[in-house]
């Protein structure tokens, strides 16, 4: 339901790390790999991460969006005009076009304006004040705002297969819309901030494998002023979008490229962990085998609103995730009963109603095995077929359980064990990963069916990482040779810069209230060992700045003997919205904790199409690693609020 799978498949997913690595032009500022690693392999380990990522996209390992410089709607239209009727034919046609280089991979042309993310919706994330690693690159290239990027692409390591524009584009986004109930840095950079309901003004549910309960959120009051719940906000956008689409964007066919996926037959697409690049290794580009899959999706833009507000017919064909399939006929009937029947004229009439957030909650509670015993048993039965093991008993005794929003409002309920997770919550046990694998003999989802310590993929071996090993921190300096043009007359220190999670939250939310900031020193602060601090004339609570080639952040020093020398801690996600003056380098607003970091992609995370090393949305893919940052810390002599 989350990705409209009840109406059309497949969804278009993109992994964030790769997307932002290219969209924010961070690939232009790479530093060469560790000298240590050069001793190994060499075929892959010395590839520029952007070249590697482009290869991963080309070989179907990772998703890649935008797909091609050419419009995907037009590509299907052209194929149809050539008389291609079957989906397979269109896919073959695409493979041929790609082979003949008649279409361009967008990932290889990230600075072509046709490949810019021109409209950007940011939903409840503080992308530009917190989570975006390499904040200053976001500010410069994606947003075109004030930035303090001090790196130079000229002195950086450049990729070979990526078409790089002479002058890096700035401000790729034309329209940036935020939907959030807090005014974060992201809101400050947005063209439009949609007023959003808070947790106490909307209905929602939450669960995690960290605790055994399903929690409700209930509105204590209706959203004040113009605020709307997330569900209502997106529904109303879909309503207007659909109306406009009648004239401007009629129904048509779209081409969706997707990678070789986890938990499908794609996992054996590229056997033995051998890498064959169809572009140069003499193999044919075959969709779903040596390259991504191409599928046709019918986009019914004028009916998006109706699709949004009702449960679609495809549920009846069954649904599920991670290769577990729950039969859908009965579910659909139950949903009609539980949600009520949509009476709105149009595509959705007569279908289960999904108009409000409460409908969506009831639909999820009904469809998920964690909250509906019948689904849990059906899920285990599906896995029984695959594994040949007796599993249904794990959820037996729960067949009668079907939690409603009112049930979990009265008291949060314990989740029922489902095959989507590997833990077991039967018999009052708490979640612990892989308990069903050990106790019910369910094979691990690996090549061997066991826990794998040895990974024989060519890329892993090339990096010398076939077995788990310790790698020392990367030893990049704060600047590349010749890059450092910062005037520095006073004392300074080069330190390892860490951004751990703070004790009061994972991110900014709730820690920026008056009381919470009073519970410590207000924002922003950086912890430093007191001997280090003394060596450069920093006293407790002095203004300081931390900078390197990625950018600069202004903060106050917390001096202590509790952390070792040589490192500074800037607790994650303080954001620059409160109490942050200008930096001294270029008099811009002293940035966020991610102003001095950047995305450091790890190529081995990009492997795909090989058993457990296959891309899975929200499960497997490259992480936006921003650790191993080296930076310079010094006193900030002058405080300029940039406000007068």
């Amino acid at each position: 339901m989350a990705f409209a799978g009840d109406w059309l498949k497949p969804p278009r997913h993109m992994n964030g790390t790769s997307f932002f690595y290219f969209a924010t032009d961070q690939y232009r500022y790479e530093a060469k790999v560790n000298e240590e690693q050069l001793k190994w392999g060499g075929r892959f380990s010395q590839m520029h991460p952007a070249d590697f990522n482009a290869m991963a996209a080309r070989l179907g390992w990772l998703p890649s969006y935008p797909q091609f410089t050419q419009n995907s709607l037009k590509l299907v239209k052209e194929a149809r005009e050539k008389g291609l009727k079957e989906a397979d034919e269109v896919a073959q046609y695409m493979a041929q076009l790609i082979k003949e280089e008649k279409v361009d991979w967008a990932i290889e042309h990230p600075d072509d304006p046709r490949n810019f993310p021109k409209v950007f919706f940011n939903w409840r994330s503080n992308l530009l004040g917190d989570t975006g690693k390499g904040h200053e690159y976001f500010a410069k290239h994606l947003m075109g705002g004030e930035d303090t990027v001090l790196a130079e692409s000229g002195s950086s390591w450049q990729p070979e297969t990526i078409d790089i524009a002479e002058k890096p584009p700035e401000g790729k986004v034309d329209l940036f819309v935020s939907l959030d109930f807090r005014m974060t840095s992201t809101g400050l950079f947005s063209d439009i901030v949609l007023p959003a309901a808070t947790w106490y003004e909307k209905y929602d549910i939450s669960s995690t494998d960290m605790h055994p309960f399903i929690h409700p959120f209930n509105a204590a009051i209706t959203p004040p002023w113009e605020a709307k719940s997330d569900w209502d906000a997106f529904r109303e956008i879909s309503r207007v979008f659909s109306e406009l689409a009648k004239d401007h964007l009629p129904a048509c066919e779209d081409l969706v490229m997707s990678p070789l996926s986890h938990d499908t037959v794609d996992e054996i697409a590229q056997p033995f962990g051998k890498v064959f690049d169809w572009r140069k290794d003499g193999v044919e580009p075959i969709p779903g085998k040596t390259m991504p899959k191409f599928q046709i999706v019918k986009r019914d833009y004028p009916n998006v609103f109706h699709q949004f507000t009702t449960i679609g017919p495809d549920i009846q064909k069954g649904y599920g995730s991670k290769g577990v399939v729950i039969p859908g006929e009965d579910v659909y009937k139950e949903l009609l009963n539980r949600l009520g029947v949509c009476g709105r004229e149009g595509l959705g009439k007569g279908r289960p109603d999904l108009y409000s957030a409460k409908h969506a909650i009831e639909a999820i509670l009904d469809m998920s095995g964690a909250t509906n015993g019948k689904r849990a048993v059906a899920g285990w039965k599906s896995l029984e077929k695959k594994t040949g093991q007796k599993l249904a008993e794990i959820a037996q005794g729960h067949e009668e359980d079907a939690y409603t929003l009112l049930d979990i409002t009265a008291q949060p309920r314990q989740a029922i064990s489902t095959p989507v997770w590997s833990g077991m919550e039967k018999d009052g046990r708490r979640y612990s990963p892989f308990t069903v694998n050990t106790e019910y003999m369910i094979p691990w989802r690996t090549l061997t069916g066991r826990q794998s310590f040895y990974l024989d993929h060519e890329v892993m071996l090339d990096f010398g990482e076939g077995l788990p090993l310790y790698l020392p921190p990367l030893n990049h300096g704060p600047f590349l040779l010749g890059e450092d043009k910062v005037e520095n007359s006073g004392k300074w220190l080069t330190v390892r810069y860490l951004t751990p999670h703070q004790k009061w939250g994972i991110h900014t939310m709730f820690t920026e209230t008056t009381n919470m900031t009073t519970l410590f020193r207000g924002w922003q602060t950086v912890w430093i060992n007191e001997e280090d601090a003394a060596s450069i004339g920093i006293k407790d609570n002095d203004w300081i700045e931390v900078y390197n080639r990625n950018g600069a952040v202004a903060a106050r020093a917390v001096v202590t003997y509790r952390i070792p020398r040589g490192v500074v801690y800037m607790y994650h996600a303080q954001d620059r919205t409160m109490g942050v003056p200008a930096n001294a380098i270029n008099k811009n607003r002293g940035g966020t904790h991610n102003s001095v970091t950047r995305i450091t992609p790890k190529q081995t995370h990009m492997i795909g199409g090989y058993s457990q090393l296959s891309y899975g949305f929200n499960y497997y893919g490259p992480t936006g690693n921003q650790r191993d940052t080296i930076a310079i810390i010094r006193r900030l002599k002058e405080v300029d609020w940039l406000e007068d």
Partner: protein, 492 residues
Amino acid sequence: MRIKTQVCMVMHLDKCIGCHTCSVTCKNTWTNRPGVEYVWFNNVETRPGPGYPKQWENTDRFKGGWVLKNGKLRLRAGGPVSKLANIFYNPNMATIQEDFYEPWTYDFEHLFTAPKKDRVPVARPKSLMTGKYIDKPTWSSNWDDDLAGGNEIAPTDPNVQKLQEHIKMEYEKTFMMYLPRICEHCLNPSCVASCPSGALYKRDEDGIVLVDQEACRGWRFCMNGCPYHKVYYNWNTHKAEKCHFCYPRTEAGLPTICSETCVGRIRYIGVVLYDADKVKAAASVEDPKKLYEAQLSVFLDPFDPEVIKEARKAGINDQWIEGAQNSPIYKMAMKWKIALPLHPEYRTLPMVWYVPPLNPIMNHIENEEELATDGYIPAVDQMRIPMEYLASLLTAGDTGIIRHVLLKLTAMRVHMRAKTVGGVDDYKHSQLLKEADTSVEELEEMARLLAVAKYNERFVIPTGRREMKDDLFYQQGACSIEDLAPPEGMIR
């Protein structure tokens, strides 16, 4: 025998993670109003550190609590005569800027109203006292969180300054603990004795110490008269305010908000019975190190038939007697003697008790798998937090008592570990058990209450007794906020 009842709290410091949830929920419930911006009825201190307000334990500075003069109890700050002399200027009082902190907020509104500019706007810090922008905050209720400030701040802890041996504050020798604090609701409260207007009182039914808001004249002698510095001044109403043990909740049988929301479940609430006739003598013991023992002597065994008989005579009903029998406080503080009072040397007989924290030892224990039970005895003496430091907080300097409690807690861990995973030798004949002066039965009982006890075992709170008071039939449906309205309609 004059039997009275007292609600008490135990905080098990081993389980405190310093999250300050107690402080936040307390503040959001009780002191989120103009006039009390700087006030935290509940706060959590990182120790070593000066605490909140700064160096509240410095009795030379604030002159809180009682002293023994010629065998008689006297307020350290002086009696009525010296109070009268200083009534318009109290030299011992803490000031908001020097000792508490200048509360601040941020100019959040500016983020919405800032004009279009090249640089993103920022919400600047703004004083909640003057309404003016401040460059940067310089102190707060928790400025030295997790040893922030290092050697500039931690050694200003009055307990550190008292230590015989100089401790070097450095990375390798770092020690740290959290100390959550509320009002102690003392049996011998010096704040009550300090008030020239008689506005503070210890209520009879449960021993909660309260400020009568109508009687308070704002003289503020209670502020420094309390050696724990847990009475505050509301500049808006010009009255004193303090932690009232969430009596609207406890009267309904619910735990205080700080206890209810405690993430580590470190807090326990229960009632105890004590002999009010013994309080004065217990507070007047000459040797400060004997005060802890003297304090224990005022409590009564709720299972003693004689005590039960007397309690009933004093109007204490069976629910409260049963509450005292099931009280987690009675078990921890009086029976097992693992919970200790904070600064008994102040002679106020504080009613919030602390189980001292076990903590990592300085040197690594080698071959822990094969370690004999008695190998843990020296471990207790090598813990990172100096025993003397804990003694300065909890036993007026008597390290023997601290050592005994830590041994007992260690014995509990060793025993429970042996029981679940094995790995130690025959326990019953061990020296550890002997030195800790305990039994396997007691350790298992302790483990249950300290580690697995659920809500109903941690909070044993008989409801408040309203059946004897007021015309409840008449008052039904009346709004508690508006009093009984209209006053002219009252017929008595």
